[in-house]
């Protein structure tokens, strides 16, 4: 085997390893759904958009997050993870949706009967387990 043939073989092997290695690490299910917007506020409209955007809530408010998605897929999982100050989990909710192409909106909400403690909060939205964005807000 000449030096050129040997080099070609090594390059081919490296390429094959790189290609198969990458494809193996990709998620098994790929959908064409993407998150295009995340809003938080005190209320939602009938089409699940935030009616009253804010990042400053009262202790008696219900927190809403509206997640807009585009694209289609047989199944996509949206998760809203609400946390308080140093990361203490307040709530985590998941919805399975099957968007059919046009823009869709999904809302999550949390309430607390005996009032929210004052401080900083964060909601993280995950699409199929991968973070799609966060929004920070506070209760005064």
């Amino acid at each position: 085997m000449s030096i050129h043939q040997y080099a070609r073989l090594v390059v081919s092997l490296l390429l094959a390893v790189a290609l198969f290695g990458c494809s193996a690490s990709k998620p098994a299910v790929q959908t064409g759904v993407k998150v295009t917007n995340i809003d938080v506020g005190r209320s939602v409209t009938a089409d699940k958009a935030i009616a009253e955007k804010t990042d400053s809530f009262r202790s008696s408010d219900t927190f809403y997050v509206s997640v807009k998605t585009e694209g289609s897929g047989p199944s996509a999982t949206l998760t809203a993870r609400w946390t308080y100050e140093d990361g203490q989990v307040v709530d985590e909710s998941t919805q399975n949706i099957a968007p059919a192409g046009s823009a869709t909106a999904t809302e999550f909400h949390v309430s607390k009967p005996d009032a929210w403690p004052a401080g900083g909060y964060r909601v993280e939205v995950l699409l199929n387990g991968t973070s799609a964005g966060t929004r920070d807000f506070k209760v005064t």
Binding site: D91, S93, Q95, I97, A105, F108, S111, K112
Partner: protein, 100 residues
Amino acid sequence: MGIFGDLFSKKKKPRADFSNVRSGGSSTAPTPGVGGPETNATSVTTGRTYVVVSGDSLSKIAKREYGDAQKWPKIYEANRNIIKDPDLIYPGQELRIPEA
């Protein structure tokens, strides 16, 4: 005790109690395996919504939302299309909460 005594004597901030947090959600997208878009219980275009949980009553919701249990008729009137008897609401019902 010195510096270590000071470090260990500092009280940690108590963690907040979120055990009674209620959550819910809805979407305009259909759910997997179910055709067609989501159907809304009301035709109202604006307003806060609240999902009824076990143990709720209109007066309890009014007390929580408005700080006044006597304002329950406001919620009842806004949800007459889904509440037939103000003494009977059911877990999972999504009520519109009008502004106070």
